[in-house]
Every structure is written in C-alpha cells, then in structure tokens.
C-alpha cells in the first residue's frame, strides 16, 4: 500500500529548465496524467500540462514518457518499470512554452497551407452517395486526433529545425492523402505536396506509424500511396527502398530549446492562427 513511485518531470521555460523528482504514492489503475494531476494538487501546483478528454480522444496530452512519445492519459503507470523513476518530458520537436506544454502552432500553420476540400456537386436532392468501401480508407485517416506525436517523432522535424519551413510532416501527409483520396474531392494537391511540403524528405522509417495512438498506418496507408500518386510527376524512386532507420526517441535535452521566434507580443505563439 505504501509503495512509492518517483516521477522525474521536466520543469522549465523557453530559456531552459531541468528534471525535478517527485516521490508520490503509487495508486492502482492510474495513468501518467493522473499522477501529473496529483502533482498539481500537491507539490507542483503550477506544473503546466495540457489535457482535455482523459480518454485518448482529443490529442492534448502528448509528451514523452521514458523517452517514448505518447499520450499521458493512455499510458498506464503499471506498465512502466517501477524500480526506475518515470521520466516525463515535453515533446522535443516543438518549442517549449512551459514544463510539459509545447508550442505546436507549426502544425496549425501547415494545415492552412493545404488547399481545402473541394467537392463535386451533390445529387439533385442535395445528398451524396458513397459506398462503405470508398469511405473506409478516408475514415482511417480521419481518426487522427491531432496529437502531433507523429510530427514529434519524425526525424526530419526532430533533428532538422530548418525543415520546419518546407516539410509538412506525417500529420500533414495524412491529411493530404485524405483529401486526395476523398471520393468527392476534385482538387489536385500533388505538386504542392511534392514541391513545397517536402514529401520527398520522408524516407519511410515508419516511426510515425509506431507512435500513432490511433493506430493509423500512416506510412503504408497514407504516405506511400501519396508518394505513388506524386511519382507520376517525376519522383526519385530511390527513396522507395527507404532506409528504415530504427530511431529510438531520446529524452529531450534539458538545455534550451529553440524558442518560437514569430510571437507577436500580444499573441503568444500557441494562440496564433492567422487570417488567410
């Protein structure tokens, strides 16, 4: 009953921070987010952490536990090794706002770059007919809860700050493929995806698929078919063979992370989604 766990939580700001240990009693059936909430109600009242649904449905509570990108609300404490401290860190790919909260506005800005859904006209009665089989794949894509864990783990973004200008990342490729394969859509986004959103930089390591909490087969079912569509218009087939690099995700370096540089003083970066 008196068993304790040590939570090693990254605390800090854009300028820097460090891991802080908290010893808390172990409670049956808890997920990591429960323990974060207990820390807030106790020794760390200002510990910043996003959450909403606590059921793996909203994609707010993304972080890295023992080095693995995951949802805090779906990561059970009893599945983590008890002897070791449980290391909870923010997503490494995105700039720190505070503690476990990162600035994910990159993903919202990228989403605005894709030309929107452009349906063909409906039938005379205003409705559309689509067969189950034709919507099934799209429904898989649309399970995405926008947790951005795939973006976090993708090495093109994780290790190459410079690609944030020209690389959409797995979440955006998934969305692009969703639109491309939508039974009603009429727009063609292939050139854009190839030339401006960096599809070619993805070398199909499948790390994104591995972390997706919705179990979307991002690479096989979205990125590869998207590459096939794009290849029509000249595509380097070498990437097809793709080095499949098994990357173990690393604990974020507690040293200063690149801060958001595009914040206007009255609109924090997380709060911006500019008019287009």
């Amino acid at each position: 009953m008196t068993a304790e766990v040590t939570m090693r939580v990254w605390r800090g700001e854009p300028a820097g921070g460090a891991f802080v240990d908290y010893a808390v009693p172990a409670v049956d059936g808890e997920v990591v987010l429960d323990v974060v909430h207990r820390l807030q109600a106790g020794p760390a009242p200002d510990l910043a952490c996003r959450w909403n649904c606590k059921a793996g449905k909203c994609g707010s509570c993304s972080a890295e536990v023992n080095g693995t990108p995951c949802l805090l609300c779906m990561t059970r404490m009893d599945e983590l090794p008890r002897a070791e401290p449980v290391v909870v860190a923010p997503m490494r790919t995105f700039p720190i706002i505070r503690d476990l909260v990162t600035d994910v506005s990159f993903n919202y800005e990228m989403a605005r770059r894709l030309p929107p859904f452009a349906p063909r006209p409906p039938e005379a009665n205003g409705a559309y007919r689509m067969a189950s089989i034709d919507v099934a794949r799209g429904q898989e894509y649309r399970r995405c809860i926008e947790c951005f864990l795939c973006q976090d783990v993708c090495h093109v973004l994780r290790d190459h700050e410079e690609h944030k200008a020209d690389y959409g990342g797995p979440r955006l490729f998934l969305r692009a493929m969703e639109l491309e394969s939508h039974p009603l859509d009429t727009a063609d986004r292939r050139a854009l995806v190839r030339d401006q959103l960096g599809l070619g930089l993805c070398n199909i390591t499948k790390c994104c698929t591995e972390v997706c909490p919705e179990h979307i087969t991002i690479t096989d079912n979205a990125i590869i078919p998207l590459k096939e569509r794009v290849v029509d218009a000249a595509y380097d087939p070498v990437a097809w063979l793709g080095r499949r690099i098994r990357r173990r995700t690393r604990r974020p370096d507690p040293s200063p992370l690149p801060a958001a540089d595009d914040r206007s003083p009255d609109k924090p970066a997380s709060g911006v989604a500019g008019r287009q």
């Binding site: 009242p45 606590k54 059921a55 449905k57 409906p122 009603l184 924090p268």
Partner: protein, 601 residues
Amino acid sequence: MREAPIHDLDVLVIGAGGAGLRAAIEAAQRGLRTGVVCKSLLGKAHTVMAEGGVAAALGNVWAEDSWQVHFRDTMRGGKLLNNWRMAELHAKESPDRVLELEAWGALFDRTADGRISQRDFGGHRYARLAHVGDRTGLELLRTVQQRAVALGIEVFMECKILRLLEDPAGQVSGAVGYWRATGEPVAFRAKAVVLATGGIGRSWKYTTNSWESTGDGQALALWAGADLIDMECMQFHPTGMVWPLSVRGLLVTEGVRGDGGVLRDKDGRRFMFDYIPKMFAAETADSEAEADAWYEDHVHNRRPPDLLPRDEVARSINAEVKAGRGSPHGGVYLDIASRHPAEYIRRRLPSMYQQFMELAGVDITKEAMEVGPTCHYLMGGIRVDADSAASTVAGLFAAGEVAGGLHGANRLGGNSLSDLLVFGRRAGAAAADFAEGRPGTPVLDPAEIDAVLAAAEAPLAREAGESPYALQAELHEVMHNLVGIIRTGPELTQALDQLAKLEERTAALAVTGGRAYNPGWNLATDLPFMLTVSTLVATGALERRESRGGHTRDDFPDPDPELGSLNLVQRLGEHGDLELVREPLPEVPEALRALLDETTT
C-alpha cells in the same frame, strides 16, 4: 497594471466546439470579421467526446421517420419542459445540417445503398443517428474546424475570457481575458458576441466533462445581465465507467445499447424491465423476446427498456445499486459481449473497445463492462429566442449546451450534436445581422477592463491563502453529495450554504508560480465561474419541488403539472443578488400539440 491590447472584430465567438465553430462559419461566410476564442487548442473541444451520433430525421434507414416524429421524441424525452419552437426548428433543420457536413468533407458510415447510415439510440423511435463508428463528435468537430480554416477565420487559442464588456447603452461590446500561455491580458471589441462555451460538469466529482466545462458562458451571461432558465435540469448519463477509480465517470457511449448491449444486475438479470414508466409503457417492450426482436424490426416490436431516455435509465441503475444488486465497484453490468460477435463489436464500437482495453484491462468483446451514472450535460442554460438564439441582453447570442430550452428537462442522446449545428448556424446568422445593423464602433470602458484583470490577478500576488485545488475538491464533494442525481430540500439548502462559504473563500485564493501557463492560477480564475453556476443549479433545484427528467427530488418524487408548465428563470437583480422568477413556458401551438398526444404510430 499591464494594458490589454484590443482586437477588433464584427463577431466574436467564445468557444470552439461544434456550436462555436458552426456559428463562426455562418458569420464568416457572410463576409464579417469573425474571431473564435477558446480555452484549449483548436480541435480539442468537448465535442470530440460525443461518441454515438448526430440525430437527424433523414429517413435513410427507416423511411417512416420524419421531423414530426423527431420533434415528438425530443419533447417527450424532455418531459415537455422544452421550448417547443426550438424543438421544431431542431427537428426540421438537422437533416440539412448533417448533409452540409458531407459537403465539407465529413465521412459518415454508409447504408448498403450508399446513403448516410443511422443508428438506434435511447428515446428515438427510429434509427436516427448519423454516425462514424463511435467517434462522431471528432468527425463533426474536425469537419467544422477544417471548414473554419478554409474560410480563414481567426482563432485565438488558449485564451480565457473573464468578463463580457458592455457599452453605456447596455449592448454587449466585447470581452476581456488573458492568454494562458503567457498570462498576458487581452481584450476584444466586437459588434456582437456568441457564447458557445458548453457545459458546467466540472463542478462535480464524477463527470464526463473536461477541465474546460466550468460554466464560463453561463456565468458570463449572468454577470452581463442575461436570464438563465431551468439550471436545475442536469443530466446524469447512465453509463460512465466506474473502475478503475482514476477513470470513474468517463463516458461509455449509449451506442453500446443502441447496438444491442443490455444492462444486467450482479446476477445477470435484465432489470430495466422493472423500471418502465407509465409515460413510455405503450412504446416499450415488456419481454426480452420482444426487446430483442425490435433490433431487426422496429415496426412490429416495441423498443427495449434499456433504450428508455437517459434520466429513466440513470435512476434505475442508481436504484439497483442502492438495493445491493450492483457490481463490485458500485455500478451495474453493460453486456454486449454475449450478444454480438467480437468482430461486430470492434467494428461498431472501436473507441469503446480501445478505452476499456487500455484503461481498465477489460475486453468488451468477452466481458461485460461495469457502468454507473456520471454527470454529463446541462439542459438548462442561457435563455434564448428560438429563432435567433438571442439572449435577453442586446448583442449577446448563445448556442449549444450553454443555451437552455431545446432539451427541456432531459436531453436525448444524439440531440446535442444536431443542436449545436442547427443553433450554432442560427446564432452565427443572427449575430451577423446584429453586427451589420449596429452603427459605429462599440465603446469599451478601460477602467472596467482594468478592474476585471486586477481581480483575476489578485491570487498571483497573495503570499499565502486558499489553494484553488483544495477549494475545487471541496466543491466537488458538495455537488456530488448534495446536488447529485437524487436531491432533497434539506440537502440543497445545505449545499447553498456551503457554496456561499466557498465563494467567500475565493477572496483569499493564493497561487504559487508566475502567470505563464500556470494551471493553478487558471483554476483560480475558473473557480468563480464554477461556484456561480453551481449556485444556480442548487437554487433552481431547491425551487423545483417536483421530479422531472434530469432533476429528481426524493422529497417530491412525482412530476407536478403546474411546475411542469413553468421555466425557472434566474438573473441578477438590481443589487447584484440572484433573483428567481417563475415564468410560463411558451405555449405549444395546436398542430404541434397533436403530435405529442399520439402515443403509438
């Protein structure tokens, strides 16, 4: 005091769930400068938690369905406390709102002939809920989110609104709040404001609601001088998870029962047959054989009692547990494992399968779930005009859960997603009309802005005092113990007394840390909202001396026809104190009343 930079808009929408985004889309399509403010990131609103579907009489599965039947089901489910005009508009317009989502990219499950499939749900006579497995809310929210992005609507994320601002003529003219990321102040100047902030469930201990549901819109409206109605009508969803404790209260979709799941006591008995109320006896099966046959043939069989409206099912579960026939963790069993093959369950209820597997270690294709009532939805809310969603304050509109009236004393499952589309659109249109007709630039009072910010920031400056977390925990106990699913006069009086004491203690709140992304401080600024709406609920509940829908009084167990014809209206009186008046419900026109009296097809 830091000065709050001001953003100028025609229409300001507060809340980025389905209702808020649908309202913003409407205003933006009209070419107005439209902005949406939300407390979380875009796309995380509580709408994603809606699982089962969106109710619309499309008639794709049962051609017999029509808006008239939907209207009737909604009114009867609401124990006739509904605003009839809202129920009529809702039933008539929801099919168009669903079809419109398809034109914006939504992918609903299909019928064999390629139309939108519809599923059965409690209180709906026909299979009526358009759905996407059991994640319909996510599909709906993502669709309106993507539409909003396509329209270039400005979204102000992670921003808490503290107060609405009015011009000297008393018209709502903007709002003031702070950015959660930085703690810096911000103000909005707008010609019209739409409230779409959702519910209040965060005041209870076991709830399906997220941290955001702190009654922001209800309290903002009250403080701005608006009327609220029937705040006592709170829905406890019959099926929340009960184990493990850390997920107690988490929603288990009614779709489980719609798809054939049944409720059983600890001995496996289907107890719902013991709890069929008179009002629904004519349309409810009284044998297991008929109930089971209904799933295949809705015309010649009556519906299973497991699919009675939510208030009935929640009370029945409560009674079973009290009588000692519950499950080990204080719930009852919800069994779909013995009724369908595993493949069917995984296909129809993928997120329930995942939720139980990952959080409780229960395989719902093999075992029954343990479930019990959990605080879920506020039927009451801001008093609005049915057609325009206008509140009683000029320039202020409200849609979705924050508005009262449509659902009466009890909401049917599936009617909230349709609610937020139908009335989100209407609120957006009416706010756009109002903004277009309002001359000049709205005037804001800088002194008022400063005063609001100073009050919100006070806990940051206090050296020592009350912990917001401790205060919230006490509030949870009060609401759970004294204003729960079954209520009594003495307990409600006690609750009001305790709420008043908690409210006094908010004056001594103190938080550690700075203003940047500080959840302790954020909670301190949410607490006045939570306490205000909790007081409204307890006050209404004490006054409504009857049992009706989601409001059950142990000391007044029956409905009272006189109270059933009244809205309990609450507002701030001249001296800023709460005032409650009884007002007659709008009278149902003859032609519509005829629809209600008919008890069978």
